[in-house]
């Protein structure tokens, strides 16, 4: 039982933090948002730092790091509100390493690691909302080299119009399976910005050539979701840490009635409650990442617990930070509104608080605790 970071991990944190501070100032981010929400140049910089290959096995040209390192990186990216969807690389690395045949692995993982290929999970369908087992896309055996053809419409694929390939759940003979679909004939996209400034796309697959990764699609998708939850939990901790910091700074600077507003007890207690929510969230972010390698049942329960706590924390910290800033809290100019919007979007990513409360409720056992 040990929550200290290793020297390696601290060095990694430091490297990412330095890049965020130097290379990703708020003005650059603003320009990227205005240009659509995704920047290939940034992606290349992340690759140069090794981050796109962070969790890719060393044999596949990655760094072979694990969940804790991914958490450290995501937290620092959160501090900078970095828009580019690095979590997608983590998900793709794990799914391809876990399910792809050696040749496929060799084709894609090194390119993923080097940042040459952006592989996005394309799972969101209209009828599903947050349910992973609802899927209308269909695949069937095809005559091309890929083996299958896949059809269906997926929404909100992160940076989907910039992706080079997609991980796509689809029905195969009625069962949920997971496919890799390289971008090509039969793939059409339409990109748009999202509320936090990042980029997503609708992706239409029309008899697109697809390679089967696994017939156990739901298990793979649950794993992807849990990796996603751990990623955004860490990212959100980074965001909230900064949110609290700028709020504290504002309260200590801003004067009303001749005194800093940090002197008002009602506001001080609000800050104490924000600190509480931040530390609970940080605790559950650790928990989430450390449970990623647990058996599937235990992992699933743990990650839903984490998302519930994160949901409460993100909402409270985001809303209160805006409130405590007063008028400037709702302007586009000050960064706190951007923190708030990001935290809002994260609540609705990979299942919202009520959804995961339902998961926790359905999965309750007689005993409970961190180790259960």
């Amino acid at each position: 039982m040990d929550f200290d970071f290793s020297d390696d991990q601290l060095a990694l944190r430091e490297a990412v933090a330095r890049w965020v501070e130097k290379a990703y100032p708020f003005e650059r981010r603003r320009a990227i948002v205005a240009a659509g929400g995704f920047d290939r140049g940034v992606w290349a910089e992340l690759a140069e730092l090794g981050l796109t290959g962070l969790t890719v096995p060393e044999d596949d040209a990655g760094l072979g790091y694990g969940a804790v390192e991914a958490m450290v990186v995501m937290e620092e990216l959160g501090r900078g509100l970095v828009l580019e969807p690095l979590a997608q690389a983590t998900i793709a690395a794990r799914l391809l390493a876990g399910y792809a045949e050696p040749a496929l692995r060799a084709e894609w993982l090194p390119r993923l690691a080097r940042g040459e290929a952006l592989i996005a999970l394309a799972h969101q369908e209209r009828r599903a909302r947050y349910r992973l087992d609802v899927c209308d896309a269909e695949a069937q055996a095809g005559d091309g080299a890929a083996g299958y053809v896949l059809s269906g419409l997926k929404n909100l694929v992160p940076a989907g119009d910039h992706a080079d390939a997609y991980l796509v759940p689809a029905r195969l003979d009625g069962a949920l399976a997971l496919f890799l679909v390289p971008r090509g004939t039969g793939v059409a996209t339409r990109g748009y910005g999202t509320q936090d400034g990042s980029r997503a796309a609708d992706v239409q697959f029309d008899r697109a050539a697809a390679i089967l990764l696994t017939g156990e699609g739901l298990a793979a998708l649950e794993l992807a979701q849990d990796l996603g939850i751990a990623s955004i939990a860490a990212y959100a901790v980074g965001v909230m840490d900064r949110t609290l910091a700028v709020t504290v700074e504002y309260l200590n600077t801003r004067k009303q009635f001749g005194v800093p507003i940090a002197s008002f007890q009602a506001l001080r207690h609000r800050v104490a409650d924000m600190k509480m929510q931040l530390e609970l969230a940080r605790s559950m972010s650790y928990y989430a990442s450390l449970k990623l390698n647990a058996p599937a049942d235990e992992r699933r329960r743990a990650l839903s617990r984490a998302k519930v706590q994160l949901g409460h924390s993100m909402r409270f910290v985001g809303q209160q930070a805006v409130q405590l800033h007063g008028g400037i809290g709702v302007t586009d100019e000050y960064i706190v509104s951007h923190y708030f919007k990001t935290l809002t979007q994260l609540e609705m990513t990979w299942g919202d608080t009520l959804h995961h409360l339902g998961e926790v409720s359905a999965r309750m056992q007689d005993t409970a605790g961190v180790f259960a």
Binding site: N155, A188, D202, Q256, G327, T331
Partner: protein, 401 residues
Amino acid sequence: MDLAFTPEEQQFREEVRAWVRANLPPDIAHKVHNALTLSRDDMQRWAKILGKKGWLGYGWPKQFGGPGWNAVQKHLFEEECALAGAPRIVPFGPVMVAPVIMAFGTPEQQQRFLPGIASGEVWWSQGYSEPGAGSDLASLKTRAERRGDKYIVNGQKTWTTLGQYGEWIFCLVRTSTEGKPQTGISFLLIDMKSPGVTVRPIRLLDGECEVNEVFFDNVEVPVENLIGEENKGWTYAKHLLSHERTNIADVNRAKRELERLKRIAKTEGVWDDLRFRDQIALLEVDIVALEMLVLRVLSAEKSGKQSLDIAGLLKIRGSEIQQRYSELMMLAAGPYALPLIREAMEAGWQGDAALGALGGFPGGVVANAPLASTYFNMRKTTIYGGSNEVQRNIVAQTVLG
């Protein structure tokens, strides 16, 4: 004690309802019911329709051309407008500055300014807040120096709602630095076309520009634009604030939005999800309780028998409810509230038919387009008009002494 409105009140409601239904342009109602973008023209079109009927100044006494309604009638009018999908009346002219002009203006000022307000012809803005003065309004710094028959105004106002459309602005300005901060403030009407007035829109977190900074650089204002006495502006402003009554709870709008929330929940498939539905049920209880609170205040005003000093509660609760319904609408759509496609918030947006399934709003329900923006925008409601923290101070003062 009786929950029902009197037959006369019900008759009044019927008349208002019939008139509003007949005169509210359907394209405007459609936008309001779906939280689509309202243009300056939309707002002013409705204002002029009301003005023509004599109802834009619906709170005005008869002597100034108003309908002379009592508190209950005003409430019924507001409710019928809200439920029909009328835009909120932009309050700065008819609701805010007009009562001050009526109470403290000269007959000349009344003749000069009130007709343009009553008809909806002239767009007024409010110049109270300043960058350094939020809840502490008395610390304002914009100066007006008397030079002969003119004031020379210098300084800056901020958070001026819809100020980009403003033709006139009523301002609190500092005319003296002696005595307590409150005592040196005057109430001045300023033509926004005067040289030296600059309006700079402030982009808000939802991407819209609903508020502005207004800069005054040696702006010349004739002394006949001073309301009442110099250095007494604080008194007039307080008079104005005391006019913001039950309407700040905005419960009629909340009822309309609760209906919209239920529609959205059905479309999004969460109406039958017990967990989500319970959230709506809780909100429904909150709205009914708020409405009862409003009705109690109205009844007290009507009868004059009891005094209910709970305006602060109405502001706190009303704003919390506005935030909550906008939050639930967004959460109902969930992932499908996340695409930010600004054009889709405009009435009549059809997407790009050439793109087929990819051409519409993601998920296919364009009504989801404005949900997140509205939620973001609503964060202002617990901040403006006296933040909820200030309101709690006031309520506590009333209770604790």
